[in-house]
């Protein structure tokens, strides 16, 4: 009797765990099936090589590249802010800061990642863009620069916390050997610890990259809605995520070609982040084996 009850409980628990697999299969199935019917109307070569993305206009073009460059541009700006800041903070907290400061600062910085992204969007549009406009005269009201910078601030804790963990995991002997040779903290950090922790640091940066690529609200609010094949950070652009939001807010009839574009855009986004997440996972796995 007892063992039957145990078996039933186990199978209930198993079913719950199975939901996570079904979620993944669901995502892949939804994206593939809808994209399939999109690509039966639009050729893949047009999708990848056309320089314009105008599915909502009468003169329709289905080139994903302007959305991809918009996404990469804002992500690149974000990483330019987050990588130097995050890594410096990680090194400072790990090697220089007294224990008390490290313990209080880390959770405070992590608040940055807990703020809802729509709030960051407000910050980018209402505070950062006007401020940048006073420095850069030609900057338009919607641009890639301002949301890029704000997104960079948002992902600082991803890089600083995870890199700090990686630095802290470097064996003490390496650190002590370096000090024993008369190296300063700075030399030890950059010539010994960072190279030793490089896989963990790279994994954290890739994770932050994936997060920035998938970020929606900041760019939807502050980057504009004009798909444009450019790397100029001062003009309005549109990211993949913004486009999906734009279509969702409009009255696009279900089943139309315009409706299916969000799945084609979605599968592009999914492929980009899936690739990055797996690279990060793989690097992390290798790194864990290194010191055990």
């Amino acid at each position: 009797m007892k063992s039957i009850k145990e078996k039933i409980i186990e199978s209930i628990l198993f079913t719950c765990a199975l939901i996570t697999v079904l979620t993944t299969l669901g995502i892949i199935w939804v994206l593939l099936s809808q994209s399939y019917s999109f690509f039966s109307e639009v050729s893949i070569s047009e999708f990848l090589t056309d320089k314009e993305w105008t599915p909502l206009f009468s003169q329709k073009h289905f080139g994903i590249m302007p959305l991809v460059t918009g996404t990469l541009l804002t992500t690149f700006i974000a990483i330019c802010v987050a990588l130097p800041m995050g890594l410096t903070i990680a090194v400072y907290l790990n090697e220089y800061a007294p224990k008390g400061i490290r313990k209080t600062v880390k959770p405070i910085l992590e608040i940055l990642a807990a703020v809802p992204t729509v709030v960051y969007g407000f910050f980018a549009l209402v505070v950062v863009t006007p401020f940048l406009q006073s420095i850069i005269p030609g900057l338009s009201g919607f641009n890639a620069l301002s949301p890029g910078i704000v997104m960079g601030i948002m992902i600082i804790p991803f890089i600083s916390s995870l890199s700090e963990d990686a630095l802290a995991a470097v064996p003490k002997t390496l650190r002590e050997a370096s000090y024993g040779m008369g190296a300063t903290k700075l030399q030890t950090s950059f010539k010994v610890l960072i190279p030793a922790a490089s896989s963990g640091i790279i994994a954290s940066v890739i994770l932050a990259l994936a997060r920035a690529i998938g970020e929606t609200m900041i760019v939807a609010i502050a980057a504009g809605q004009q798909p444009r094949l450019t790397f100029d950070p001062t003009v309005p652009v549109e990211t993949i995520t913004t486009y999906i939001v734009q279509v969702s807010m409009g009255d696009v009839p279900h089943g139309s070609l315009e409706y299916k574009t969000i799945f084609a855009a979605g599968i592009t986004l999914f492929a980009l982040t899936f690739l990055l997440n797996n690279i990060s996972f793989w690097i992390n796995k290798r790194y864990q084996q290194k010191y055990e």
């Binding site: 719950c16 996570t20 697999v21 994206l31 907290l93 300063t184 690529i213 995520t241 997440n277 797996n278």
Partner: protein, 284 residues
């Protein structure tokens, strides 16, 4: 100046640079909170909390938005908490060595990295269309539940892992079954860490905007939701809607709504931290 002195100066310089960077982040957070409070706090009053949306900024309120957020919060908690804990128990206590458990593990790591808007697309096809729920509270809660499930599972597994082996072996020695051990000993012992993880996950769900926009949550809802099948809006969508409008009055409204949303999210984070600290003290 010799090499040694130069290196020492560089070392000092980096130290101050590090302090500057670290406090720059906190400084930005401070500026930003101060700015929003400055803009919005005078707009918060009883009417703002109890008025329906309006095209006139001075008359517009957030009644439908905050009630929608509470609905979403409650429904998502009901759906995601049992599912997440059960899945974590299975992964941590039962299926540990099989190839399938390995697959589940990689899969959860991957799910945690999927952009939230992709969950919106999943919810749109599965819950809104296939299950026929429409743009309802229930469809929104199911979507957000899937989104935070990996977060809850990871946190719960960490909590279960922290329960010492001696607890388990003692229980088995007394003749308890696996489930009796889990239910009577392991879960109570890890409860505070599990709750911390769940609160943080729910705080994330409350702040989500993009997936709910994709499943068709509306910006303008002129009534308070009464059943889980009603259409809805939430605080972040209301804020997004107000930010997108050119009139200055709506910007002020957005700032006021942000104060309330942030207060809610920060209180939840605070409770989570408090429980964590209290549990740590108890275990010492």
């Amino acid at each position: 100046m010799n090499n040694l002195q130069r290196n020492k100066i560089r070392d000092k310089a980096f130290k101050y640079f590090g302090v500057t960077c670290t406090f720059f982040g906190i400084f930005i957070l401070g500026v930003f909170l101060f700015g929003i409070i400055n803009d919005g706090v005078s707009r918060i009053n009883w009417d703002f909390l109890t008025n329906l949306p309006s095209y006139r900024p001075k008359r517009a309120g957030i009644l439908t938005a905050w009630t929608g957020t509470l609905w979403i919060f409650g429904l998502t908690a009901i759906i995601a908490i049992p599912l997440g804990i059960a899945a974590a128990i299975y992964l941590e206590e039962y299926g540990k060595k099989s190839w399938f458990a390995n697959l589940l593990e990689i899969n959860i790591t991957n799910l945690a990295g999927v952009p939230s808007i992709i969950y919106g697309i999943l919810g749109l096809e599965i819950f809104v269309r296939l299950a026929g729920l429409g743009g309802s509270l229930l469809a929104g809660s199911f979507t957000l539940s899937l989104l935070i499930l990996p977060v809850i599972i990871v946190a719960t597994r960490e909590a279960l892992k922290a329960v010492p082996l001696t607890t388990r072996t003692a229980s088995y020695a007394l003749g308890a079954t696996k489930w009796q051990t889990i239910w009577n000993l392991i879960l109570p012992a890890s409860l505070s860490s599990i709750i911390t993880g769940i609160i943080l996950a729910l705080a994330r769900a409350v702040g989500e905007t993009a997936p709910l926009i994709v499943i068709g949550a509306l910006a303008y809802v002129p009534f308070v939701a009464k059943t889980p099948m009603d259409e809805f809006t939430v605080m972040p969508i209301q804020i997004f809607n107000w930010i997108s409008r050119p009139q200055h009055g709506f910007t002020i409204n957005a700032a006021a709504a942000i104060i309330i949303l942030l207060a809610f999210v920060f209180v939840m984070n605070g409770i989570a931290v408090y429980i964590r600290i209290k549990a740590k003290k108890k275990s010492h």
